[in-house]
Symmetry: D2
Subunit: 367 residues, 4 copies
């Protein structure tokens, strides 16, 4: 029931503070025999890393993953896999003056009320630095899901402030620092972010994520539903305030005759449901969305209180992200991967001997 562990059977326990000695995780329940090396973590950690562009905060960690356990001669053994990243860019001196300050919109006040003590250095445990280990753990999940089922998980930024893509191309996503699917708008985004940075303010964002190739039957009714677990997973990411599956809130004003995804022997005719019915995957693409709030770490002064209960003015110093959503795409992908990995194992625990049943409707049509 560890509050810092995610997943029932593929369990990822993370630890570490933003400016402590290290961050890390322990992955328990990984199937044995999967090839894993330290090089496997490079791509996704780089995708997530701060410092990727001028538009994300300038902390530059080496983020070198060390595998401490759980592999033998390059393969997982079934025992816990511990991953460690040393914090090399701690600069905790920068945070000296926020020791007795509660920043509005941050977890400073709530941690203090909960624990009666807090590590103020860089947000301590509440920092998004923790999400590095989610991405690292998901590298293993993604590899297994791809090898065993051909599952591919991809995300992209779908909105930033008022801006939405005017066209969509998966190939564009990895070619710009925003994970933006419309290559023609990148200059526009850069200009918007520069203006925002100059204004000292920040803006929210929306990230979409899609998993292709998930077999039908994953998800545990009624409190371990696949969509319920995705919702918890995405909402647990720093700054997320909303989650949708499939059409999400758009379904509120839809008609049943429009929303229900009709089926034919050739496949589903649409995917309003986002690939999940009754909490169980249908074989269609899993589609989810997360809403990120604008970061509260901005240069514009704000009202708050200090430890003595006195009114103060707070202003973030140094460079911070004008939009935390920009680098959130790999994290959203990671959380979806962790949910799917866990449900792959949960499904075969209970239903591992259920033979595939007819009729199996192709999932791809209408996705």
């Amino acid at each position: 029931m560890s509050s810092n562990a995610f997943g029932q059977l593929f369990t990822v326990t993370t630890f570490g503070e933003s400016h402590g000695p290290a961050i890390g995780c322990v992955i328990d329940g990984c199937p044995p025999g999967l090839p894993i090396s330290e090089a496997d973590f490079r791509v996704d950690l780089d995708r997530r890393a701060s410092g990727r562009s001028r538009f994300t905060s300038q902390r530059r960690e080496a983020d070198e993953v060390e595998i401490l356990s759980g592999t033998y001669e390059g393969r997982t053994t079934g025992t816990p896999i511990a991953l460690l990243i040393r914090n090399t860019d701690q600069r905790s001196k920068d945070y000296g003056e926020i020791l007795d300050t509660f920043r509005p919109g941050h977890a400073d006040y709530t941690y203090w009320q909960k624990y009666g003590i807090r590590d103020p250095r860089g947000g301590g445990r509440s920092s998004a630095r923790e999400t590095t280990m989610r991405v690292a753990a998901a590298v293993i999940a993604r590899k297994w899901l791809a090898e065993r089922f051909g599952i591919r998980i991809r995300g992209h930024l779908a909105q930033i402030g008022e801006l939405v893509p005017r066209s969509f191309d998966w190939d564009a996503v990895e070619k710009n620092p925003f994970f933006w699917p419309d290559a023609g708008m990148v200059a526009e985004l850069e200009a918007a972010m520069n203006a925002l940075r100059k204004s000292g303010d920040s803006v929210g964002a929306r990230v979409n994520v899609v998993a292709d190739g998930v077999p039908p039957g994953w998800g545990e009714p009624v409190y371990g539903k696949l969509d319920g677990d995705i919702a918890a997973a995405l909402m647990s990411i720093n700054a997320v305030k909303g989650v949708e599956i499939g059409d999400g809130f758009a379904a509120v004003s839809q008609r049943g005759s429009e929303h229900r995804d009709e089926m034919t022997p050739g496949g589903f005719l649409s995917n309003h449901a986002g690939g999940i019915l009754g909490g169980i995957s249908s074989g269609q693409s899993i589609v989810a969305t997360a809403a990120f709030k604008p970061t509260s770490s901005i240069l514009i002064p704000g009202r708050s209180v200090n430890l003595a209960g006195e009114e103060i003015e707070v202003r973030t110093k140094g460079r911070h992200d004008p939009c935390v959503g920009i680098r959130a795409t790999p994290i959203v992908e990671a959380m979806l991967a962790l949910v799917l990995m866990d449900h792959a194992l949960r499904h075969r625990a209970q239903c591992g001997d259920v033979a595939a049943v007819a009729p199996r409707i192709p999932g791809a049509v209408g996705d």
Copy 2:
């Protein structure tokens, strides 16, 4: 890790199919000494019950709760509380012909793919009938939360199709069958629902829920966050496709200077966050929203396949809800209550000896 259990410390395990002999639940972890009798369940079960108005389906269950264990002389003893409701209106003959049919937008196909067997009578386990026990279990949680902390949990319908309230009054909510906060619109809603029913179609809805009086400090970072657990809880309700905390998706286009809730010694100046920062309650009102899809049980024929994989036409018979969201408000309230109850216990497990720390900012201001 039971998939049919909700909550880590206040654990509610539900069982039962829509048209089986009974539905029920076992509540484990309830503090001892709480007065509970069978009469306590009446109000909330009636609020939830189908058959409340012409606009919800006509199944009329007695829904008489029997307390099978866990109380002695009208008080909880700390042992598991089992609640049982016999299904008295089963009419399973009505469902004979859907035995080999997969209804679009329903869980028929996914249950079949998962388990290789399904109980087709009334949707079996995937029926919203299961939510009756969530409401029943939440009666106990709400009573304890009210007695110990003065917590009040209230919900209302916030949108139905394209209709949104033009005014807001909590007092109006319980006085109409829609849990609608604008008394002046009730006739309009009735007309809209009648027209919808005649058309044989359905529409989605949005339900808001608010918890007042939650102390600061509840919620477990980083994977047992209060908002993460609320997201899972609401998404686990039948037909829910989206969840928001506080401003939710509206935060995507907000600025940080607008979204962050500034604090003063007299209280918070706004509540965009919905009462949760870093996954922990701030002392402000907890505010959450759920989006309900339009039910797929409609009179308009739809394309599907049967067990033999042949294309068929499906049309729901009998009377069904034109909007399942209408009776969802008590269920959304119930799930928030169960989350809060669980976190009350989790918080005191780890932090039970943390004395209240200064400064404590009033939560009410700006809510």
Copy 3:
């Protein structure tokens, strides 16, 4: 984390007090497709039932199991299976005078200290009546384990007071009311029990249990070890004070050269380990033992205190078992079955795609 639930993946949640309206359980995680009917429970519940012989207490429950959910047309569907037994022989009047008495050797005092309230009728939740549902749930586990793996679980009484069997025959066990493997000693046991009953005293017992046919590889290091879970399972039975795996305490004075079970291509040469090495099954028979204390419900007066803290004399009235171990054999078998069922599912969750690896040594030799 429910304290009244057993098992991680095959989760059995029990409820009910000795003299409440009913006892029952919810079984979550059962694989779909298993044939189960109410008749399946008859044999094992009768084996466990009090009233089997003159030497166990005279409560005579019908113990009719009702299946409330989780099956369709006689097969499990993968949804929770709820079982219910109404308490028909409550006679709570008999317990009126123990309301303010703490019986020595019972849970009266500890429940009172824990909860500040207790159900005194027949021991309430601490009564061995709860074990009825363990036996009922295990019926399902045993059936699946037998069908899928050919696993057979058998127990017998191995000591009662000072008496130990002088010969051993599995066939004798089910033919006498003591589950005693030496048919020639049954008259001797009857005489001993009669003498003990006349003396108003009680005596302890030892129960052995053996599971044949368990494949190698079940058990989860390092805190979900098969032997660790068996130890918890057996120790959770009322009146158990000790648990052994294989040679158990005899290993203390053994030499390594004697204890280690040598292996040959034809099989293991001995089974001192009880079929478990490093917490994982070896393919040999699983062998475990439980020590039962003498019941404290005896006619001989004992010193105690009452609710007012005054010294009193306690004497059990009515008929009680001179040895609770006599009817414990089916309960010990049940707990072993529940552990094995759970580990069968846990094993295939993580290692479901590990093909059987050579060399596989026959388990039977030397058992």
Copy 4:
């Protein structure tokens, strides 16, 4: 449900192989505000360390604990505490030839059957090296239990082969390398161990552990019983084959009139129960015992098979313990501490607002 995690609310997840880069653990759920520094681990790790005497194996690790997270300015913050120990004495060359050998009495064969892969270096994950982290984690538990409740946990060797103490003195225990309570027998033990080592064989042992000061009311019926959890905890230690609470197996031949612990206003008159009734602590000392088998790592050749399934002869090389029980006392203490810590938190989760109820009987008398 992580198999490498122990405890529900004070959750210790361990990782690491005997000859991998490091071992470590993550402790989640520790109450905030507890003073902890790296120096706190020294005493107990030294007590446990191999190399303490000539009679335990000669591996000499520095066993320097590094605290990676969860503390700020020397106090716990409520976030996960990660502890790391680098393996400095790996010498994996020594293990080259056991790569394709299954040692009898070890986990080699069972790990291989379970996972289809194993880390053969020093036993990999099945090595008792893992218990180092149990002792480290328990340092934190013991400190909190002592500060909050005055709980003291002490263990001693109670039998080694045929030898049992002829006198008992707690003060003697820490003054000899055997944790033996009879100072006058130490020379005798040394001689016995020397003879055993020369013979190339090993012998079993029995360890007793006692916790004083545990309040009444800890333990969760019916599947989270204090004694059930102790049984699992002790049985999970490498080489343990039996567990007793209180009188344990001696209760089999006791009478009820002898075993039941009578109560008076002045206290209990005996403690046959080992401080636990109905799974809940009584306020008396908690008393438990573990039986350790003789290690299978001996110089005397034994029969086994290799990876090819061929019959081979196995003989352990290098120096190994003639009795693994000698250094087990701190591990047994640690596991009892972890169980008690977990139950302290579990108790206050559910019953945190139950005021102490009268009468409270002194636990000390008769212990």
